[in-house]
Amino acid sequence: MATDDGTRLEILFYFIIGFFLGLYWFYRGFYMLRLKRLIENIPTSKIRSIAMGLVEVYGEVVPRGNNFVRGPFSGRKCLYYKYEIDRLHEAKWVTTRRGSKGTIFYIRDETGSVLVDPKGAESHLKDVGFGYTVGDGKQPPEFIKDFLVRNKIKYKGALGRTMPMRFSEYCINPGDKIYLLGNAGDNPFIRKGCAQSNEEGIIIRRGRGDKICYLSKTPERKIIKGLEDYKSHIVGGAILSIICLLLIIFFGFIL
């Protein structure tokens, strides 16, 4: 009986997870729809004539002087990176930690250049620039170990064995073509009275009010195509949560 109760509770637990997962997918679908509409609604501007406010540009990334950041796992210089740390959980990789960092750079098209501050941007970078897997006796290299220690991320389990972990690093490098949706405004980093070139007078970054800054290496059309998945998220999420609710009531109250 106790085993039956235990099994029932375990099943109920999974159905509750499924219910909330369904709700999350349902919400996520509308988030994707909103983002898709936002990207579609803003036409792509030529850099020489961008107006203040929410803008969309597409162009090549150019470093600003010698400003770079170093990838957390590869140690390679880049202008912006996003990282993910996955842990193995029941034969599946689950992302347990993610982060990003960047420095100010230019984006250039055939008409001119403009500064970009990628701080706080939501980025969509698909190609893994650097990937590494540890575990089963395989130790992380020194660079990754330093990163884990600095950020107080546990990588050793019982008996000092390295836990199975996967490190993925996505970078934006000079010469990459990127799509950017953000807020163009006066550059607050300019010191008054100093001579500055025109291309540093304006900077595109995350806005205060709408907090939008979206970076991607994929062209606009492909981003929109990718976001068309929102329909399956909405319908699938709704169906999953309804079925899980039905099963929760069945297992919870009837059986």
Partner: protein, 192 residues
């Protein structure tokens, strides 16, 4: 039990419909604001160009005393632009000014003293820069209007557009009939 699930399913459908309506409505507000903003950005440049044209004519007329027709074309185009009220009229005025300036700059090639004049060089550069910006912003404005016009005719946005009585907007593009009419007027002005 079944009642609870049905109620929940209906609640999800209702939340979905309301959220969808809000997303579509907010999208329309954004598109309409984009159109207004991009139009204001064009209008301000059109006014700046008109002001620079006045200065340009002042600089040029001292050198080009025998080029009356060309200068008249420029001043008439400028006057037409200042009196234009609707978007198609302003688009037509824009085309006339471009054509007039093109002719003027072509004729200036015959006047080396004028070409070397610093004021003229500055004004020509400024007007060329403004023309490029107007062309870019015109493209942006027309993109915004096209997106809006497609949206109000597509399902499901069409349903919301009908409720709100939104109508299609005009592109920054001269109407063919108006273009022919003004071309004829300008040609006759040159003849007489």
């Amino acid at each position: 039990m079944l009642g609870t699930v049905v109620f929940y399913a209906l609640a999800l459908v209702l939340v979905g419909l309301v959220t969808g309506f809000i997303i579509i409505y907010n999208g329309f507000i954004m598109l309409r604001n984009n159109i207004e903003k991009s139009w204001s950005n064009i209008d301000v440049l059109l006014k700046q160009r008109n002001d620079e044209i006045t200065n340009l004519v002042e600089v040029v007329k001292g050198y080009m005393k025998h080029e009356r027709e060309v200068l008249l074309k420029v001043t008439k185009a400028r006057s037409f632009s200042q009196n234009a009220k609707t978007i198609p009229e302003k688009a037509e005025a824009d085309e006339l000014i471009r054509s007039a300036l093109h002719d003027l700059f072509a004729v200036v090639e015959n006047y080396p003293d004028l070409k070397a004049n610093q004021n003229f060089i500055h004004l020509q550069k400024r007007i060329t820069g403004l023309e490029n910006e107007i062309a870019d912003r015109r493209e942006l404005f027309n993109d915004s209007v096209t997106t809006y016009n497609i949206r109000i005719d597509s399902i499901p946005d069409m349903l919301v557009a009908r409720i709100l009585r939104y109508k299609a907007k005009e592109l920054f593009k001269a109407k063919e009939s108006e273009r022919k009419r003004h071309h004829t007027v300008f040609t006759l002005t040159q003849v007489f």
